[in-house]
């Protein structure tokens, strides 16, 4: 099969813009080489012999081509303390706002969705214990949800390998995990008991409504996969699951937010987050 001509600068720009508009993923100059590679790979797999025909396929999302394309760019690996700057934002800024004028009896509720194999909700638990001065003053409820029940089962088990723990200091691992054989560690029972895991499909309103209202929601790198109509529904669901004034943190490493106009943009030192407005007056 003849090699297709290399994709031109202009063609890469048009493709990047299209993907940005559809998914929110940003392909900066630094990623151009990888985009070029991905285009060539996908053209070979789909049998397209020109950029024009491949782009037409992508624009029409034939056989889910958009997801096929962006899969190469999404980091599916999860580990403890990933996107630490958002955890910083949580304890430095978000919880301060959420606990202003709040009775101590009112539990702080945090949602990690999708939670995958549990690294994110357990990270939140560890982070709060290690970094939040008021961790003893409030009851804290952490919920981890995912559409995939297999990963939820693994999450509840709380067993992790070396890669998942790579960002944690040996001291943290020593204090919060018990070593098992074969380079695995299990997080302590008390931490496992601190997180409740539930199966949830973000697009199903009847399901999301069962989870109640949260002070902070972490919803990273899943909205980019939704089509526009589903994304609107998911965003409305997430809005309902926030208490007035509550915050939502999206993944920022690869994509600009695709959150809807329902939320206000709040820029803190460590992160950009989105906020459900406080109760309006009258």
């Amino acid at each position: 099969m003849a090699d297709a001509a290399p994709v031109t600068e202009d063609e890469l720009r048009r493709l990047s813009e299209f993907l940005y508009r559809r998914t929110g993923m940003v392909f900066t100059e630094s990623k151009r080489y990888y985009v070029q590679r991905r285009v060539s790979d996908r053209m070979a797999v789909t049998g397209a012999t020109s950029f024009a025909s491949y782009f037409a396929r992508l624009r029409s999302d034939i056989a889910g081509e958009i997801e096929q394309f962006i899969n190469a760019f999404t980091v599916n690996e999860t580990y403890f303390y990933r996107e630490e700057h958002q955890l910083q934002c949580l304890t430095r800024d978000l919880l301060a706002e959420r606990t202003r004028r709040r009775p101590r009896s009112d539990a702080i509720r945090i949602w990690s969705v999708p939670c995958s194999t549990g690294e994110e909700p357990y990270s939140i638990a560890l982070w709060l214990l290690e970094n939040w001065a008021q961790v003893d003053a409030y009851d804290i409820e952490i919920v981890g949800s995912d559409i995939d029940t297999r990963v939820l089962g693994a999450a509840a088990g709380g067993v992790f390998g070396r890669r998942a723990l790579m960002r944690l200091t040996p001291d943290l691992v020593g204090r919060y995990f018990e070593p098992l054989e074969d380079e695995h560690w299990r997080i302590l029972q008390d931490i496992r008991d601190s997180v409740r895991f539930t199966p949830i499909n973000l697009v199903e309103t009847a399901e999301t409504r069962t989870q109640g209202k949260f002070d902070v929601i972490f919803c990273r790198n899943v909205l980019i996969y939704f089509d526009d109509a589903s994304r609107r529904v998911a965003a409305e669901n997430l809005y309902e699951n926030l208490a007035p004034g509550g915050f939502i943190c999206l993944g920022h490493t690869e994509s600009m937010s695709r959150i809807s106009p329902l939320f206000d943009v709040r820029r803190f030192n460590d992160a950009i987050v989105y906020q459900r407005p406080e109760r309006p007056h009258g």
Binding site: M256, S257, V265, R267, I272
Partner: protein, 129 residues
């Protein structure tokens, strides 16, 4: 000829040919250019490097130019005060007023020539002729 001395301009417009046209003029005049496709992206981008001027379109998906400006001006941060040149298709007096009330500093009606653009950008950046 303008000496832009590395002033940075953020162009906020969903039309890629408009952004290219402005970029072409601005870079030739020595300005550094960043782009955003709508108000939401602009709010996110403004966390990064220092920006000296915003060029703001009005009709954009997700977040229009006026909503963006109001959200920006509300913030308790230095970025809130960046001057904004609003460039829109709408020519009525009420649109100019709306732009001013949203926090725009100057208003031009599309289509704008490159000369007119540079003239106003320079003025708003405080660069002499």
């Amino acid at each position: 000829m303008v000496d832009a001395a590395g002033k940075r301009v953020l162009v906020i417009d969903d039309a890629n040919l408009v952004r290219r046209y402005y970029r072409d003029a601005l870079e030739r005049a020595g300005f550094e250019v960043e782009e955003a496709l709508n108000g939401l992206e602009a709010l996110e981008k403004l966390q990064d490097a220092v920006t000296d001027l915003l060029i703001v379109d009005v009709n954009m998906p997700q977040m229009d130019g006026f909503t963006f400006l109001k959200a920006l001006r509300r913030q308790d941060l230095p970025v809130a005060a960046i001057p904004a040149l609003v460039i829109s298709t709408e020519a009525g007096a009420q649109d100019r007023d709306a732009a001013r009330m949203a926090g725009g500093n100057f208003y031009l009606v599309k289509p704008v020539s490159q000369e007119l653009l540079i003239e106003h950008v320079s003025m708003l950046c405080g660069i002499g002729p």
